[in-house]
């Protein structure tokens, strides 16, 4: 018989009142939420950062922040959910949405 007073152990610590260490959403990856992944063609990218502004996650990471010239970007695929807004707003059509395939 199961003990009716059983309190299952949780995988994480519960703090009184329910506070939690910040940054937990970094650990929560959403890389398997996507139907399509954004692929950036850096030859076409002019570094306008529209995608960076519009990305709701944010999963667009600016590159070369220290250097001169336009800032190019890359995608944080661990947290990109594949919404495709970046591809929509890109003025030079440098972002292509590519179907994800599940391999086993």
């Amino acid at each position: 018989m199961k003990d009716p007073k059983l309190k299952p152990q949780l995988r994480f610590q519960i703090n009184p009142g329910g506070w939690f260490e910040g940054g937990s959403s970094v650990e929560y990856t959403t890389n398997d939420w996507r139907l399509e992944r954004p692929v950036i063609n850096l030859d076409k990218c002019v570094g306008c950062l529209y995608c960076w502004i519009y990305c709701p996650e944010p999963a667009i990471i600016p590159l070369d922040r220290e250097g001169r010239g336009p800032t190019k970007v890359e995608v944080d695929y661990d947290h990109c959910k594949g919404c495709g807004i970046c591809a929509q707003v890109c003025p030079t059509k440098a972002i292509e949405m590519v179907r994800e395939e599940v391999k086993v």
């Binding site: 959403t30 398997d32 939420w33 139907l35 959910k81 594949g82 994800e100 395939e101 599940v102 086993v104």
Partner: protein, 186 residues
């Protein structure tokens, strides 16, 4: 008799609606039916679970389904996630949306040697072709109807037509039919 169905998908794909349409089709076939989702943070893309019960007598239990006869996976990633077969009964059926062959799916889900039917259908592709968007729910339902033979495929298609009047309904009815035709079973 009572059949319990658990449906796995992601927010926005139509897992909850799949449960609902299955319930409607069951009702129109003459069964008692019940359909409800596992409520949570409603986010597009987050894992979602929905339940449907189909029975020939009134259904009194309103608890989540722990030991399903049938598992449906609408999402291609979840289709190869072992968590979805938790509690699946012997003699049961699992229908997944996947490009992976069903015998391979059986291995991945750890169902080798179990008395369980595994069926797979490339529902994402069919949905994109038939509907122009990523809603593989009706396709998976069509596949499930064809494999389980409890509720006629046409009943599912009718439920989809009633839910989406006009062109969208026809497109979904088409997706149901294609799911039923293109499903492969081992």
């Amino acid at each position: 008799m009572i059949y319990e169905v658990r449906i796995h998908g992601r927010g926005g794909q139509g897992a909850v609606l799949a449960g609902r349409l299955l319930g409607e089709a069951a009702m129109n076939t003459g069964f008692y039916a019940q359909s409800f989702p596992e409520f949570g943070a409603e986010r597009s893309g987050a894992p979602v679970t929905a339940y449907t019960r189909v029975a020939d007598e009134p259904i009194e239990s309103r608890s989540p389904v722990r030991y399903p006869h049938f598992v449906l996976s609408i999402d291609m990633y979840l289709s190869v996630d072992r968590q979805i077969v938790s509690g699946l009964r012997d003699g049961g059926i699992i229908v997944v949306n996947s490009t992976v062959q069903p015998d391979k799916v059986r291995d991945v889900l750890g169902l080798s040697g179990r008395d369980v039917k595994v069926a797979a259908v490339d529902a994402t592709r069919i949905a994109l072709e038939a509907l122009g968007r990523n809603n593989p729910n009706t396709t998976v339902l069509g596949a499930f109807a064809a494999v389980s033979k409890i509720i006629p495929v046409d009943s599912i298609a009718d439920a989809a037509r009633r839910w989406f009047p006009g062109k969208v309904g026809e497109a979904n009815a088409d997706a149901v039919a294609r799911g039923a035709r293109e499903v492969t079973v081992v």
